[in-house]
């Protein structure tokens, strides 16, 4: 559905994106992760036909992103990284205008979205908070029921409750076969929505993996609290990542028998389990590629 072929955009400063290659299948949710300034928004602007690549090209559903931008926009719902809306309008006027542009006559989907996001569209945009503007931007991107969603940091400014609503809606859209291209620097967001993830660093893709593969590589972390310090050799082959006083953080991947056998010999007073987050996992798996840039 989405294809980038040697996609490059070089700015005068030397920054930009350099020879990106990726494809996103129809119905796939694709995550695009990277620190600020890595080139995520530039890539998205090239996909939306707002920026002309200096080399290579991108296409969506066979349409060239720069040459057929208006065709692309017909099938894409877009949330920009920095949401700026016309301040002289009310939310209601903006939504009406967007409906007019896309020729959406049935307003039932719009009404449902407004209810789910608990938005008061009668408010003037000038008087809306950042979070409310973000909700309005999300609704404008979704109201014409697009086949492709291109979202740049979509939950920025949303409270945790609304972030949850957004993630639920993304799951529903994904189940309905929509293609999602989600850019974020928040790994947990990508992890909850996407099938595959690419990590971008200084304008280049340093890793591209299915989320399922990453989950298999994911270690379980145990915070083990002891009543006294362990003597030398009692920890056996356990991989201790950190020791803070009497609390040890142990990483386990698959071999739980050894872990519990060793644990049985120790004076354990408390045990807490957590999953390693994807960000740490990426650092572990791709430390070489990331550090070489």
């Amino acid at each position: 559905m989405i294809e980038a072929n040697q996609l490059s955009k070089r700015f005068k400063s030397g920054h930009g994106i350099h020879g990106l290659n990726f494809t996103v299948a129809e119905g796939e949710a694709f995550g695009f992760v990277g620190p600020n300034g890595a080139g995520k928004s530039t890539t998205i602007r090239c996909l939306m036909g707002f920026m002309r690549p200096t080399q290579g090209h991108a296409s969506i559903a066979g349409h060239h992103c720069w040459d057929d931008a208006s065709e692309i926009h017909r099938m894409v719902g877009y949330i920009p990284g920095e949401v700026i809306l016309p301040e002289n309008l009310t939310g209601h006027q903006l939504l009406q205008d967007i409906r007019g542009l896309h020729g959406v006559h049935d307003r039932s989907r719009l009404d449902r979205l407004v209810t789910r996001f608990d938005l008061d569209p009668g408010l003037s945009i000038r008087h809306m908070s950042k979070g409310t503007r973000q909700k309005l931007a999300i609704i404008t991107a979704l109201l014409h029921d697009p086949a492709v969603l291109i979202l740049d940091e979509p939950t920025s400014g949303l409270d945790p409750l609304m972030q949850q609503v957004f993630i639920e809606i993304m799951h529903e859209e994904h189940e309905r076969g929509k293609t999602v291209f989600l850019s974020s620097h928040i790994f947990s967001e990508i992890e909850r929505i996407c099938d595959r993830v690419a990590i971008l660093r200084q304008g280049a893709i340093v890793a591209l993996e299915p989320i399922a593969h990453l989950r298999a590589e994911q270690e379980t972390l145990f915070d083990v609290t002891l009543s006294s310090l362990p003597t030398e050799g009692t920890l056996g082959n356990l991989r201790v990542l950190e020791q803070r006083g009497l609390v040890l953080t142990v990483a386990v991947q698959g071999d739980y028998t050894t872990f519990f056998t060793v644990l049985a010999t120790l004076p354990v007073t408390h045990l807490q389990q957590r999953l390693q987050d994807l960000e740490t996992l990426f650092q572990r798996l791709y430390a070489e590629e990331v550090n070489s840039l």
């Binding site: 707002f50 002309r52 926009h73 920009p80 809306l85 967007i98 007019g100």
Partner: protein, 271 residues
């Protein structure tokens, strides 16, 4: 007209209508004020002698060559030669920058430009909104003259053709100047820069036209100014053939607006 174009025109008009109303009624108020003052000026003893004592260059530069014999001639010097031009110059610079440059450069046009809208359609729809606004402003000015004359100079007859020519040529002149601003708005990614450079070019053009009337040795300057194609005093005295200048202005406006579309199609947008 396609639904998207209609929607874009509605969007543009919503942000532009206040400007049109304020400039249109402002210009109308000036016309009423000037025609209210006209009887006291035109019939003042010694006014003709005063005009005869003024240097010819000053009379030419200020456009009083048509005299004060009738209200329209009086308006060419007091309004069409000066106030009308300044009002529409500000209206054009502010209006075109607001419609074409502010939204894409500041990001607030993002929701529209991320819709199923080609860049050509965006520029042309916003251009059309400006032209409608310019037309309505000109229409208000045109209608205000017979209205004010019916109140204060009911015995005077107005030459309708002359009135329409004065305003029609004004409309074409400002279509060209709007094209200059549109070109800058489409090319620059900073609307303040478009505003500054555009205003400077238009003021320079006006100054060249004004200065060309001050002395015979400066007359060549008028060939550098688009304002030389709009001579209200010559229209009222019947000394200007308007068809060729009108065709020329239409052609130049078309080229400039076409250039604006071409430039806007090629630039990067940070939306």
């Amino acid at each position: 007209m396609k639904g998207t174009t209609r929607a874009l025109i509605r969007i543009g008009w919503r942000s532009f209508q206040t400007t049109v109303v304020s400039y249109g009624f402002g210009a109308m108020a000036y016309v009423f004020l000037l025609l209210w003052l006209y009887p006291s000026i035109a019939h003042a003893p010694g006014i003709k002698r005063l005009l005869q004592t003024l240097p010819r260059s000053l009379i030419t530069a200020t456009g009083v060559t048509a005299g004060l014999g009738n209200p329209l001639a009086y308006l060419t010097s007091e309004f069409y030669g000066m106030l009308y031009l300044w009002i529409l110059m500000i209206f054009t610079v502010v209006g075109v920058v607001r419609l074409l440059a502010q939204g894409p450069n500041r990001g607030s046009a993002g929701p529209w430009l991320a819709g199923p809208v080609s860049r050509t359609r965006w520029v042309l729809s916003q251009g059309l909104v400006f032209m409608i606004g310019l037309f309505l402003t000109d229409l208000l000015v045109t209608l205000s003259i017979p209205s004010a004359m019916a109140i204060w100079e009911p015995q005077q007859e107005i030459t309708l053709g002359m009135l329409l020519t004065l305003n029609g040529m004004g409309f074409l002149l400002f279509s060209v100047l709007a094209g200059v601003i549109a070109l800058l708005s489409a090319g620059f990614n900073d609307d303040q820069r478009a505003l500054g450079v555009g205003a400077s070019i238009i003021i320079l053009e006006y100054v060249l036209s004004f200065a060309s009337g001050l002395a015979p040795r400066l007359a060549w300057m008028r060939h550098l100014s688009i304002f030389s194609l709009y001579r209200p005093d010559a229209i009222v005295t019947g000394h200007q053939h308007v068809w060729w200048p009108a065709l020329f202005l239409i052609l130049v406006a078309g080229i400039l607006w076409g250039g604006a579309v071409w430039l806007f199609q090629r630039r990067d947008l940070e939306l």
